[in-house]
């Protein structure tokens, strides 16, 4: 990694020393440069790049920021440490002498510089030693090795293993589990853990709070790709839940350049679907749509990967008709452990999922 960063710097340094206008080629991260690849089932990035110049009033700030991030990242490599995006923002901040100009004013600027650098060095953010948020728990029949510790995910009581923001260095020592259930709510995870669902059904349960972090996405991806485990996704019945699934499975627009290292094409949506709402009589727990929900749904149904998928379009239509969402938690009204004793086993057995 250090080498890549030095090489990146060398090109620019050479131009500078030669009294040329220093330049870098930045792949364009706009929707126009994004494609949905039906073959792999992934959102991927096109070939378009933009030239960024130092001596250009519109570019100079970003140019300097990108180089500054490279410098910080190289420092992390050398010290064998890592930082969060927020911390990178602060590490970058310095006021230029004799002015009130700062290298970065908002974290969005340093975040963008990090993404640009990922693209130009073809490295994962985690390889740049910059971490996203840490969140989520895992339990199940798996033994891993991480930083010299051997950790058995089936021997962690009521808490489970806390998923780190960076899972690149963990090694899977033993995997007995046959599948993975991922859910967006920690309360549901505690329900399943209390019911020892993963023990009874020989699986792994993973939760985050809301949108899956990069750590969790990488973890799920490695379990899917490297270890061939089916990944089942549980979310609320709402546009946001659909979006969580969409990002897990196909990748996201902003991280399209690393879809193949984050997306899980084989992920399956286990609910709540519109059919689940009907089948389990959850209609009375509907929460009316707000305008923002309608807008979100309209965006999602136009995604290239959903556009021609009749099953999904049917779900969108039904949701539109209901004009309401239903939370996964509502299923508790059918019984405390209905989720683990009935809902999940039935759905998996009947292959009642969406893809």
């Amino acid at each position: 990694m250090k080498k890549k960063l030095t090489a990146f710097g060398k090109t620019i340094a050479t131009q500078a020393a030669a009294a040329e206008n220093p330049t870098m080629d930045v792949p364009i991260r706009a929707l126009s440069n994004i494609k949905y690849d039906k073959g792999t089932g992934l959102i991927t990035m096109g070939e378009k790049t933009a030239k960024r110049f130092f001596f250009n009033i519109a570019h100079v700030k970003k140019f300097v920021q990108t180089v500054a991030v490279a410098r910080v990242s190289k420092g992390l490599s050398e010290e064998n440490k890592s930082m969060s995006l927020r911390q990178v923002f602060y590490a970058l901040r310095r006021t230029l002498p004799g002015t009130n100009i700062d290298i970065v004013d908002e974290q969005t600027e340093s975040d963008a510089a990090v993404e640009d650098l990922e693209l130009m060095t073809d490295a994962l953010r985690e390889q740049l030693r910059i971490n996203a948020n840490k969140s989520g728990s895992v339990a199940g029949k798996v033994v891993i090795e991480d930083r010299g510790d051997t950790i058995d995910w089936s021997k962690l009581g009521s808490g489970g293993w806390s998923v780190p923001s960076n899972v690149e260095s963990i090694k899977f020592k033993k995997i007995e589990a046959k599948f993975v259930v991922y859910m967006e709510k920690a309360a549901m995870w505690e329900r399943l853990n209390e019911d020892k669902f993963w023990e009874k059904h020989n699986c792994i349960i993973i939760s985050s709070q809301g949108q899956a972090t990069r750590g969790i996405r990488r973890l799920l991806q490695r379990l899917s790709t490297d270890h061939n485990l089916p990944i089942y996704v549980l979310t609320d019945f709402d546009p946001w839940g659909f979006y969580i699934y969409s990002v897990l499975k196909f990748g996201s627009i902003s991280l399209a350049h690393i879809s193949e290292r984050l997306a899980i094409p084989k992920a399956k949506f286990l609910g709540l679907s519109a059919d689940d709402v009907e089948r389990y009589g959850l209609g009375r727990h509907k929460i009316k749509f707000k305008d923002v929900d309608h807008t979100r749904l309209k965006q999602i149904e136009k995604y290239a990967w959903f556009k021609d998928n009749k099953e999904w379009q049917r779900q969108f239509e039904m949701m539109k008709k209901m004009s309401a969402k239903v939370e996964l938690d509502a299923i508790v009204s059918k019984g405390i452990s209905f989720i683990s004793e009935k809902y999940l086993p039935d759905k998996i057995k009947e292959k009642d999922w969406l893809e």
């Binding site: 710097g9 060398k10 340094a13 110049f53 100079v60 004799g98």
Partner: protein, 545 residues
Amino acid sequence: MAKEATAKTAETLAKEQRAISVSEFFEKNRHLLGFDNPTKALLTVVKEAVDNSLDACEEARILPDVKVIIKPLEENVFRVTIEDNGPGIVKQQIPHIFARLLYGSKFGRGKQSRGQQGIGISAAVLYSQLTTGKPAIIYSKPDKNKKTHMVELKLDTTKNEPKILKEEDLEDGLKHTGTKIILEIQGKYIQSKHSVDEYMRQTAIMNPHANIRYENAAGEKSDWKRTVDKLPPLPKEIKPHPHGVEMGILERMAHNTDSRTVANFMQNDFCRVGSTSAEEMCRLAGIAPNAKPRELTSEQVRKLYDAIQKVKLMRPPTDCLAPIGEKMLEEGLKNETKAEFVNAVTRDPVVYRGNPFQIEAAIAYGGDLAKTQSGEVASDEAVQQPAKLIRYANKMPLLYEQSSCALTKAVQGVTWRRYGMNQPGGGLPHGPAVIAVHICSTWVPYTSEGKEAIASYPEIIEEIKLAVQEVARSLFQYVSGIRKTEDRAKRQKLFEVYIPELAGDLAHLTGEKKEKMEEGLKKFLKKNVAKIIEEGGDNGEAAKE
């Protein structure tokens, strides 16, 4: 106490009927004439007198010197004195002009002037005697070699006639030709945007060819010196345009004309009617061109009226209008605001409903307008107040009813963001600016008798918008010109500051020498400085990022 009420018959009712004098009517309804309340009354008195003075001077082609003094006598009672160097008024006319409602030279005469109704100054006299019981005192000197004539008079409201209390010729009256009027009135003096002070200020802007001296009720003196030594051109009178005449008026004109034939009547009494058009009208109306206009029946007038509408005519001539002109408007505004930038535009005349009108607009920006009262340059935030709008109709400032006025609506209707100014809530633009708008017309469509606001005819609003957009555009060019120069310096500085930063980071990243890179970058900047700071960058395409 009260008379017993009993059933009336047509006979008893008939006995109660009587004619009411127009003075009695307006005495009771004085709010119709701008005397709604003491504050406004004071302004109206000054305004009517000053308008008359300026009109008279211009008609006599004299560069005006006008003096206005408001002297407080007791609480809410003032003596108002207005003196001019105009042509004066001949002895016999003084009582009628000052103490008879509906008497004047300007009524409906197809020519632009400040006054229009022949009602204003007599109404001031009426208001004065109504509230203080005091007569009006008039001095007039039409010939500078003769004595000054002085009259004290009142208005007899039951007859709408002047009543002269005292009259004499003075040796030591006015020093030059002119008129002077003294009125004592009940009023209230305030210093606000509806005040006499503000009226005088705006009048000075619109009349840079006048010397105006003003002493307000607080004893503060203002002196606006003439900055232009040329009178604005005198507007010409025009005859009515056939397409702006209503049927009843057409009938009256036909019956009162001196022309012997209908064809002649149409050609002589209207503008833009030639013999071909006149004959065409007669033909369409089924009237012989040599019929006598005085003998036309109502039915024939009606047919003639319909025929007139069908004949195409040239638009009315527009030399009856006298805009102040771009240069003079700029002078006046610059003089008063001490702004950094002033621009004015006079549009070509246009017609609404047969009446010609013309729009002028001006904008003043920056300079003293961007300073605080103590003279310091105000902060950006402080100057982000709504711009001041001043409105004129036939050169008279309009102070009341701003929000319902077509002039205001038009200015608010401009998309100011396009010209680099904020416009929160779609109202007036914000910034250190004064916007002046002037409509002149032979018949200004006021929304009420108080002459306070202009009615919202679409043709008028459209013209104003075009005028305002034009001055706004020139302001925008000016402001962005300044910004450009500032920007250039900033840009060069920016690169100079960034160079060591980039060099430093690269040195860390590559282990190469900082100095070498710094030198290279500086060299490039020096060589290409113009291109970099002018165009912003190296290449067009990527700059769009």
